[in-house]
Amino acid sequence: MRVIIVGAGDVGRSIAENLETAHDVVVIDRDDTIVEDLTYSLDVLAIHGDGTELETLRAAGIDQAGLVIACTDSDETNVVVCGAAKTVSDTFTIARVRRRTLLETWNDSDDAFGVDFMVCTDLLVAQTIFRICGLPAAQDVDLFASGLVRMAEFDIDEHSPVANEPVHEADRYDSLTFAAVFRDGEMIVPSGDTVLRPTDRVVVIGSHESVADFGTDIAVAGGDRADEIVIVGASEIGYQTAREFESHGYRPRLIEQDPVRARDVAETLTDTLVLESDATDIEFLDREHIDEADIVISALDGDEKNLLASLLARRLGVDRTVAVIENLEYADLFETVGIDVAVNPREETAEEIVRFTRADHTEKLAMLEHDRAEVIEFEVSEDSELLAGPIQDVTDELPDGVVIGALCRDGEHITPRGTTVIQPGDHVVVFVDAAVLDEILEAI
């Protein structure tokens, strides 16, 4: 499929990287040097020009394109790109926006602005942060099959009850599948004998409750529902996160240094206590008892500031720190230094967009560990290779690096065991190593 990506910023670039092998990717950008750089660094066609102009779109081959992704930094430009593309073809269009209001307008009418799918970056990040905060100790959380199935990543701590246990012993949770273990940068698909070591990061897939139970057991500092939420920085992400918590009945606190911005967000956030202060002012943090918070989320502009704010919160004795990290290369480093969870906006957006480049039946997708592996949900079609027999036989046929994590039939969650037989129409959630991804996508 020909995919046209307009705007080669962080997001556009990482989408292009993800798609370069499987698709014919054309990238349009207004910056000469970026275009030149892309031509040599990725296996894509890079065109210099303005994506809102038909001439440029035609040069990129809009007639044969199956997908147009508009992900420049400007919301308006992205919307106009989609509208322009729609005037000459009926290719599927995706627009990335930052403003939530645009998304709300689009939601009200399906084909507003000629956009077929709209991704609101800041909202996505906010939702991810909320999901992660809802599950104690989790590093990443994603929902599948309309929320019936949950996928989560956890770090195994030396005090954790499952530490140093083989998987067949640790698997005492109903309907929970251990999909993968990341150890020292290596990915292992666990068998029953694989021993879970401290510092391992495990990926589990299962029902809502089982994942929650597992998380609660793993969490060293007790698994009560986190009530005291503190968000540092009223950036757009910080603001959206506060809204997300509000809409689920929480009353978060939001610290913002700039008086004008603080007043601005305080006007729209009715259930959030907005505090106007420097988040590194120890006296202030002490007076407001920030140390008693269950979770501190740093959403300041700038990765370094977020690191500082998180470390400070850590030092005060906050249980969990979550930070928004723009630069992917920092994420690992920051997690080693002491941030519990680093959330990357770029990755969240790419996840959402890449899903549309897959065959029609991929319903949902999550990337793990910087796209080393993916968890995908799809509806099983009549001619799928998964229908060949019980799961045990099917997985033997498939290449290594595939784990069937969960199964949903008629809105019910079914724990996949070796003897389970998959039926057409089932929703399957699979964990797939990125190395064998294309092969698997073919098979299913």
């Binding site: 913002e256 008086p259 007043r263 305080a266 009715t270 206590l273 907005v274 505090l275 106007e276 202060s277």
Partner: protein
């Protein structure tokens, strides 16, 4: 030293003239009444009409093509109200009947009418002394003043279309005129339609009660007369005993309409156009409803437990219907500044009168016809006080004050505090001045009378709580100097102080 005025007073006066000429049309109502009831004072109203129209048209000659700016708005509004009151007093003087034939008394009665105060200096309110046309004119002044002379003028005179918003805002400053429609004239018309509609409904219901036999003396004349003074929260009545003269059924009917008159008419417009939830959800309406119901319950309990009994009302203590009726009526009447009475509440106990005095300080809602400090201001003050308590514990907290979910501008809040403080200061100054003036001429008056004289004129309420100023009394016995001061108080009270006070500053006229 050269004095240059930076106010285009010619253009301002020219517009005032237009408004005055327009208001002169109102004299047609007493003319019709005089024709219907055969009074011999037809000439009084014809002459008044000609005088008013002539003077108005004369003022227009000052500037044939006026183009007033934002600054002239205060001048126009203040002058329009003053001159309308002056010319509204002309018939009283011309007719020469009773105490109001004396010019200061006439001006008092007229200002009290247009500002919907309802304080009276008529010695004898009856058809023996005054004609039916004259007493109807007195009622009509309140109806015209209720929704506002300027609002009416903006609704009808196309000349005011552009600067209309500023004029309307100067007439009812509050926290801003809400434009319901793109054209300000349309907004003004909408308000007047709601006003006229509710008045017509009330008159129809009153007359229906009469036709059904529940209100023998509520004839067509009285139905119109009381329709003209209920919706504008006026309080005048052609009956000396106010609403006490009518049956309990009428008294019960008046209560909800007095309440309605104290609600923002913008909300009534929404109700009429099929969106009653706007009313139910409105913060100010809820507080107003809560305050009136709460005070009514307390008042009912006070009367029920008392041993109150007067010749006119019979036994009130121990009688639930009477206690509720008299309490609900007086609370509804005094909270939003109507000033009707269905009994002489001077007979109430001290604590019960204290309750009424408290009610007088509440006022109606913004955008209603009621006067006073207004519910919205109290609501904002309560909310900011709560915020102060909160921020004394959390000094860094940013907490906007919300009204109907929308955050209020801090500057608007400051304005509300300034107004309320100024209002209370002017009230106390009034108490001092009225007391001193009474002492100067040796007029024996209680403290309660002086207090009520100040709040009842400034708040456009009308009757006070003392023996002199009480609902069955009047302001006739006050010295002339006090009456002039009261006229000023009613005037600034109706325009919410600032538009008049600003005219007294040097900055307004010069730089």
């Amino acid at each position: 030293m050269r004095w240059t005025l930076h106010v285009d007073w010619r253009a301002g006066l020219s517009l005032v003239g237009t408004i005055l000429a327009f208001v002169s049309l109102a004299f047609t109502v007493p003319i019709v009444v005089a024709l219907l009831y055969g009074g011999d004072d037809l000439w009084v109203f014809v002459v008044s009409m000609l005088l008013t129209a002539g003077f108005g048209l004369g003022l227009r000659q000052l500037d044939p093509d006026p183009d007033p700016g934002a600054r002239e708005a205060f001048f126009i509004v203040a002058m329009a109200w003053l001159l309308v009151a002056v010319f509204g007093a002309v018939p009283y003087v011309l007719a020469g009947n009773g105490t109001v034939s004396q010019p200061v008394n006439a001006l008092f009665e007229s200002m009290s009418g247009f500002t919907t105060t309802g304080a009276t200096v008529m010695g004898d309110i009856s058809f023996d002394t005054h004609s039916r046309a004259m007493l109807m004119w007195r009622q009509l002044t309140q109806w015209i003043g209720g929704m506002g002379i300027i609002v009416l003028a903006v609704a009808i005179l196309s000349q005011l279309a552009v600067g209309g918003a500023q004029l309307m805002e100067a007439e009812t400053p509050g926290p801003g005129v809400s434009k319901l429609t793109p054209h300000i004239a349309e907004t003004a018309r909408v308000l007047w339609i709601a006003y006229v509609g509710l008045t017509a409904l009330f008159i129809a219901l009153l007359y229906a009660l009469h036709l059904l036999g529940y209100a023998p003396n509520m004839d067509l004349y009285n139905a119109f007369a009381h329709g003209f003074t209920t919706l504008p929260t006026g309080g005048f009545s052609p009956e000396a005993r106010s609403i006490e003269a009518f049956s309990p059924a009428v008294q019960w009917l008046v209560v909800p309409f007095m309440f309605v008159a104290g609600v923002n008419f913008v909300l009534w417009w929404h109700v009429i156009s099929g969106d009653p939830w706007r009313l139910v959800r409105d913060n100010e309406f809820r507080l107003y409803l809560g305050a009136v119901s709460g005070l009514t319950i307390v008042g009912t309990a006070m009367l029920f437990l008392s041993a109150l009994e007067t010749p006119a009302t019979g036994q009130i203590g121990g009688n639930l219907e009477r206690s509720a009726r008299y309490a609900a009526f007086q609370i509804a009447s005094l909270t939003n500044s109507t000033g009707y009475a269905n009994m002489d509440f001077d007979a109430w106990s001290g604590p019960a009168k204290g309750l009424l005095l408290f009610a007088m300080f509440i006022g109606g809602s913004t955008g209603s016809t009621g006067g006073g400090i207004k519910v919205l201001r109290w609501l904002v003050i309560l909310k900011t006080l709560r915020r102060e308590l909160f921020t004394s514990v959390h000094p860094e907290a940013v907490r906007p004050v919300r009204m109907n979910g929308r955050a209020l501008d801090e500057e608007a809040i400051r304005g509300i505090y300034a107004f309320t403080l100024l209002y209370i200061v002017i009230f106390f100054v009034g108490v001092g001045l009225f007391a001193a003036d009474a002492a100067r001429v040796g007029f024996e008056v209680e403290l309660l009378d002086v207090i009520s004289a100040s709040i009842a004129t400034l708040g456009n309420i009308g009757p006070g709580l003392g023996t002199v100023t009480g609902p069955m009394g009047g302001y006739l016995e006050f010295p002339t100097s006090s009456k002039l001061l009261m006229i000023l108080y009613m005037w600034i009270g109706r325009l919410e102080i600032f538009p008049v006070l600003v005219l007294l500053t040097k900055a307004y006229w010069q730089s």
